[in-house]
């Protein structure tokens, strides 16, 4: 690790647990509302009103869960790696806690993407699981999440656990471009995919607008659960700090 670079003071204040706790208290309600509204609208629109696919009929509607989950799983990983890097370099406590909170959430979302994909695969490919690039690299992503999570829970010392998790998530960052591009690599390696999922521009607007809404909704929902988890983590780690004690007394 390089020597820690000195940053302006506000940068550190930004990362103070107390600041995060306060700001997240104010932001949380808005994100909850946004998540509920977006998810409901997107869900109703997507499931009830969007036209059925001419090839796949109604089974395609699972796209409204599958794609947001798949996209979010990757974003969450990137966030986890960035937060980890920040906590490694600048020893910022909040970044560490955010990274720690990302792992289980990301793992859950990755599982969701995998499961919805598998459910979708049954009617379209005739199999729950196929060894295709997307699927495999997604599975790797899940394993990476599990690995980071296991490091966080196995190492008793919180600081070391955070650093170890950060190193692994940074190393695993290599997987993200693999998820994106290995489709092509893989096709050249093994038999070409019989079914290409990427011909999206042909998708009519009535289909993709609800999809976009669902993606946004998923992001809001993610923000909510991330804040909740991080807040619990803050309370746990800072339990003896003055302001936490004070808050507990007030309640």
């Amino acid at each position: 690790m390089a020597k820690s670079w000195k940053m302006p003071k506000w940068f550190y204040q930004l990362g103070s647990p107390r600041w995060f706790y306060d700001i997240s208290s104010r932001l949380l309600p808005w994100f909850v509302i946004a998540a509920v509204v977006l998810l409901t609208v997107g869900m109703v629109w997507g499931l009830a009103f969007a036209p059925a696919d001419y090839q796949q009929g109604n089974s395609f509607r699972i796209i409204y869960i599958h794609v947001p989950a798949a996209v979010l799983a990757q974003s969450c990983y990137i966030l986890m790696a960035i937060a980890g890097a920040i906590s490694l370099v600048w020893k910022m406590k909040v970044a560490d806690m955010v990274a720690k909170s990302c792992a289980p959430i990301g793992a859950t979302i990755a599982v969701l993407a995998l499961v919805t994909g598998a459910i979708w695969g049954k009617p379209t490919w005739g199999a729950w699981w196929v060894w295709d690039a997307r699927l495999t690299s997604m599975l790797i992503l899940l394993f990476l999440y599990i690995g980071v999570y296991t490091l966080h829970t196995t190492i008793e010392n919180d600081i070391s656990a955070g650093q170890a998790g950060a190193v692994l998530s940074l190393v695993g960052l290599v997987n993200i471009p693999i998820i994106k591009y290995s489709v092509e690599w893989w096709n050249t390696l093994h038999q070409p995919a019989t079914f290409t999922v990427l011909e999206k521009p042909s998708m009519p607007a009535e289909m993709w607008i609800p999809l976009a809404i669902m993606v946004l909704g998923f992001y809001c929902f993610f923000a909510v659960s991330l804040m909740l988890r991080t807040r619990v983590e803050i309370l746990h780690r800072e339990k003896r700090a003055g302001w936490v004690q004070q808050m507990i007394e007030e309640q």
Binding site: F143, L144, T150, T154, A164, V167, L168, V171, I178, L189
Partner: protein
């Protein structure tokens, strides 16, 4: 002699001494010299036993089986890379010496490769013959193993560094490292399959080489960081 030259000299000396020490340690417990190889052989033996002994069938799967065996045997030997140094305090001494940790780590990984990946690569033609690999694929197999196994050692060492402080990292390391091994496996077997099919393999080798280059540059830093974290825990 300038100061700079003197310190370069001492760096290369430390590298050589550490490499030598690890090779000597491996030589003293000679069984380890043989065993990754034997494990490699055994996985390749189990496979026909457990699945099917037909030559036709085997020749199709040979490349994959050899690669999977190489990967598993590297993985298996990985946990011991830093464990004994951690247990007896040598790792502390390394961290508290004025030498750059990344250098010491590279020497150790190098030694590890020389007693696992390298002999494995040398042995692979034997396995290929046992599994009826078509002869066109042979050189591709050896080449990909030669470029691929150092990468496996480097990646594995990151996992080993992260888990060495835990009371039992042996299995956790698998969880951390195996996902990262998958790309190497895919390109390695891909190249051999291409070669058996008469296709060019330069592209695969280039990618494997790129991964190795990336590994050589980045892994030592990650390993050194991981070890510092593990010891300070």
């Amino acid at each position: 002699m300038t100061n700079k030259a003197a310190s370069d000299l001492s760096l290369s000396r430390v590298f050589v001494m550490t490499l030598k020490r690890d090779l000597l340690l491996a030589y003293r417990r000679r069984n380890d010299l043989v065993s990754p190889l034997v494990f490699f052989l055994m996985v390749a033996t189990l496979f026909p036993l457990g699945v099917s002994p037909e030559p036709q069938f085997l020749s199709e799967v040979a490349a994959g089986v050899v690669w999977v065996a190489a990967l598993l045997s590297t993985l298996l030997s990985m946990d011991s890379l830093f464990r004994s140094d951690f247990d007896d305090g040598s790792l502390e001494q390394m961290l508290l010496s004025p030498q750059p940790m990344a250098l010491l780590v590279v020497a150790k990984v190098c030694a590890h490769w020389m007693i696992s990946g390298l002999p494995l690569t040398i042995m692979s033609p034997l396995l290929a013959v046992m599994l009826f690999l078509p002869s066109e694929g042979l050189s591709a197999l050896v080449l990909t193993l030669l470029i691929g196994t150092p990468t496996l050692s480097l990646i594995g060492a990151i996992g080993a560094g992260l888990t060495v402080g835990l009371r039992k990292g042996g299995v956790l390391i698998t969880l951390l490292v195996l996902p990262l091994y998958i790309p190497v496996l895919i390109f390695g077997t891909g190249a051999v399959q291409a070669a058996t099919g008469g296709l060019p393999i330069a592209g695969y080798l280039a990618i494997l080489g790129a991964i190795l280059a990336l590994g050589i540059v980045l892994a030592p830093l990650a390993i050194a960081a991981a070890l510092k974290i593990s010891v300070s825990n």
